[in-house]
Amino acid sequence: MKRDTESFHPWEYFLFALATLGMLIVCVCAGSVNIPIKETATIIWDAIWKLPMPEGVSDSIVLSVRLPRVICVAFVGASLSLCGGAMQGLLKNPLADGSTLGVSSGASLGAVIAIAFGITVPSLPFAGTMVMAMLFAFLSLIIILSLAYKLDFSLSTNTIILIGVIYSMFVSSILSLIITFASDKVKHITFWTMGSLQGTSYDNALVLLVALAGFGSVILGKARELNAFAVGEDVARNIGVDVRKVKFQILICVSALIGVCVSIGGTIGFVGLVTPHIIRLIVGPNHRRLLPASLFAGAIFLMFADLVARILLNPLELPIGVVTSFIGSIVFVYIFYRSRKAA
């Protein structure tokens, strides 16, 4: 039997994981106060084995502030990037992403409604915003795709992006309306529109990990189907893919993951657009390689963006969404021009 040449090799997993770990260490060490790698490693090591901590404030910076935040950033980046890669394959559209399609805006609307109207799930205080964000992400995706299908069955790039933009504007008008009426919660609500992972905890990291392990593994398991969708929905049907079922499964998982990310970190745009695009240039378009690579690269990219947000205007901190949108919009214009030129 010939060796499987299409899937991601163990050494490639190792390399990407190593790069992610490297970035994680850099991000934990660097910041408004730089902590040497050796000291950081000692603190983490001592914390794991419950050994006595060295004197100083470094341990609380590393353990209570930076480490949970950087882990959350990595998981959010990985999730958003995986979702972007999956949507770009499913819709055969290199510009598809939670933010360009308006799914992230939809999720933030759900989260804001939950805050403004005090919707909660008993015994799980943060679950109200999360469930609403997931629900609204899915509804948004269904609305956007139904509108796009009605206009243009082939779901061409321009149609779907235009509808995504219009939908995002519609959502932001409703957000403004809610803010007007719920002025006491303005600060809390503004957080969702900017996107930030400041003050995230280990609990948040655990929720993100569970969501990524659950929904992410379903998406990763659909790599072959996504390859077929990336060539065309009719081709997918012809080679034996149960188009309706697989599409529904992927859409559910993508909106659930985006919903969880938005409920914890707010709307962080363009991560799902930038990383799969760059990764496609390195590992090719095959989703069996593209999806796992995007997962790691998304984590690396967002950790880097978060680091820039923290240290660029030190001691002032930028919202992470500002950094990703700045990079993302440049990449967006580049892809758009390139695809128009090719057409």
Binding site: R224, N227, V231, V235, I239
Partner: protein, 264 residues
């Protein structure tokens, strides 16, 4: 192999295909012909895409509405006329996708069969030398041959083609049709295709279904169906006279050639 009984398809109030019955047996290449709007592609889509229809469509005795997509793909290959690929997949990756129906799970391992059929499909279609090339760099003919290889890798018993060589140069038309004719002879296989070009239909088909405004005008052996009278009544013109006039231009040109060369 494929039996279609009383097939009727309508869009809203309009009936596009009206009470059409025919069958495809092993060894046959059934050409579905007729003028624009006769319902040729609609018949094909009812079978290949399971669009809304009334009547029955049976594949080896089973109602196609009860066949899972995966099982359908193992038995039927479908080739459409246009392909737009936006991502730089290699020829080999596209062809390998044809094996999906045999091992759809992410952990399903490829069998020896998979490898052999992919290699054979690449060789048959002449795409072997281009196997590592990105499909974005291929010509229209090469791209169509790549998708034909994907279908060969699927190893179906029935091929359904919707104007497979519509935008292709003459050389590619000939290549693709020759490939399909050889493929039929390799086993108990059959082809059903929509072809606009009556000369191509006549050259390669064994049987024909002539449609006229959604109804069957004639059905049977190719020479009987494409008779002068049948074509005249459906197309509203003397197709035979037209074809001969077209051909005679070339004959005249050939006769005139030595004279012109002499003058030169």
């Amino acid at each position: 192999m494929l039996e279609i009984e009383n097939l009727t398809v309508g869009y809203g109030e309009r009936t596009v295909v009206d009470d059409v019955s025919f069958s495809v047996r092993p060894g046959q290449w059934l050409m579905i012909v007729g003028p624009n709007g006769a319902g040729k592609s609609t018949v094909i889509n009812a079978v290949s895409q399971n669009t809304c229809f009334t009547g029955t469509v049976r594949l080896s005795g089973t109602d196609i509405r009860k066949i899972r997509q995966q099982d359908f793909a193992r038995r039927v290959g479908v080739l459409t006329q246009n392909h737009y690929v936006g991502y730089p997949f290699t020829v080999e990756e596209i062809v390998r996708m044809g094996r999906y129906a045999y091992a759809p799970g992410i952990f399903s391992k490829e069998s020896g069969d998979d490898e052999e059929l992919v290699e054979r499909a690449l060789e048959l279609t002449g795409m072997e030398p281009l196997r590592k090339q990105s499909v974005l760099t291929l010509s229209g003919g090469e791209l169509q041959r790549t998708f034909l290889a994907q279908i060969f890798a699927q190893n179906p018993k029935l091929l359904i083609l919707d104007e497979p060589t519509n935008h292709l140069d003459l050389i590619y038309q000939q290549q693709v049709f020759d490939l399909i004719r050889d493929w039929i002879h390799e086993g108990p296989r059959a082809v059903m295709s929509v072809v606009h070009d009556l000369s191509l239909a006549r050259a390669y088909g064994t049987d024909a279904l002539l449609l006229d405004r959604g109804r069957i005008a004639s059905y049977g052996a190719i020479d009987d169906v494409l008779s002068a009278e049948n074509l005249k009544s459906v197309y509203g013109m003397d197709v035979y006279a037209w074809m001969q006039k077209m051909l005679s231009q070339w004959e005249e040109a050939e006769e005139a050639l030595p004279l012109r060369l002499k003058q030169a």
